[in-house]
Symmetry: D2
Subunit: 143 residues, 4 copies
């Protein structure tokens, strides 16, 4: 899924640059776009102890920020020209297992893409554990 395809007109490095410029807060977090394809994208946010919450789990907003960035990376890969202005209409997150301290990995894929709307799903893990920490679905209104 997360491999480059011949249809891909924009590389992971280019997507990363667009996101880091467009969303400076992701630049502050050291966000890396590790793979993009025509129907999937993966990002990584490096671990920092300030991301922890009481109980030494990764805090929820860090996992959600990774999911948001992975979906945005996928939308840019699908069509950077228009989709930079895509609007999130809904963001749903199930927290499924404790997120042990580690880099946050978010893998997004397309559930449905219409002309006016896209529904994406993201699996979020940390590098400390194989179990899914969070499962996110996002709905986007396309320009």
């Amino acid at each position: 899924m997360n491999t480059f395809t011949t249809q891909t007109l924009i590389s992971a490095a280019e997507v990363q640059k667009l996101i880091r410029v467009g969303l400076p807060v992701t630049d502050d977090q050291g966000l890396e776009v590790t793979a993009v394809s025509h129907d999937a994208a993966s990002v990584r946010i490096p671990y920092h102890p300030r991301q922890l919450r009481p109980g030494d789990s990764m805090s929820g907003p860090v996992l959600m920020a990774a999911a948001d960035a992975a979906m945005y990376a996928l939308l840019l890969a699908l069509g950077a020209d228009q989709n930079e202005m895509a609007l999130t209409s809904q963001f749903n997150c199930h927290f499924l297992a404790r997120a042990l301290p580690g880099d946050v990995i978010a893998d997004a894929r397309v559930l449905r893409q219409g002309r006016r709307m896209a529904v994406l799903q993201v699996e979020v893990r940390t590098t400390a554990r194989d179990d899914l920490a969070a499962l996110v679905t996002g709905t986007y209104v396309l320009p």
Copy 2:
């Protein structure tokens, strides 16, 4: 709603201190807890241009982080001893109107509180506009 009550055993300042220590990332953002009561809590995240996304709206993760902090503040106000370890099980966010640049204000209230689970709702706005920018519901498993 957002006023102190005689049942409140913990002040907004104390909740703010607990959150900033427990979630260092909120300290980095300058999070303020502006009010807590037995069934509501409000927080503010000061504006910074790095929070913007393309199109000069506030980025989604900033609004979601404010909602998350407001719910956590409310849980702490409801019972700081136990609820510091409350686990988010679900976080649902509808983005309703463009969030114009400004401080982010999140007002949380209790939809339902059981022994084992709490459901909270949060209204998120920026100081630039009265319209609701986002409406969040969160589900928590209580310790």
Copy 3:
């Protein structure tokens, strides 16, 4: 909220007829549209013992069907000509309190209405209890 306004071009009775013809299953359930306005609509599904689940609460799908019908009634009231073909893109339901046996009442209102998308919220109760049994948000793609 749930009163007729001069802007309303279609009555509760007309909306009820459209729904019952368009969705025969609501006819089978005896659905009544009790009020429509330019930003709200209310429906009622009469109580029947077959709607119960173990524990003698009303079953979830009955509450969700009432919420769905209330949102559809509101969309029809907002523009019967076009919105009959509105597509539900998302339906989120929080069950908040046990639904004691009784008629199901669902009150829908507009959270946000854009050109291409509408977000509605519905409060669902039974006549046996004032407490909210369920809180639903629905997202619709408009034709």
Copy 4:
């Protein structure tokens, strides 16, 4: 996934009987439980023209009722004695593609099972089309 395992103490036929008795409305719809295992369950609701909505798609509440029944079947398979009283706390449904007229098939699996809470996911299709018509997640409080 949807095969019987040696751990399964209750058959699809037994689960169907429990559901039809416990939820008479599913009996009216002719609900069949077609498979259960220790981590998955499948149900079918036979097609009836009264399930259609304008535009000749299957109406949303029928798809949601099938998803609800599949999750309930799975909970019963996981532990019929206790889980008959499991409470739905949340039900989220994304409608992904038009549901063409046909029997409704709902396949539920466990996303996470804790002591106090279970999160399930359901894929809903009709027999008229391979595409996913709806993707549902449900959260249950276990007794």
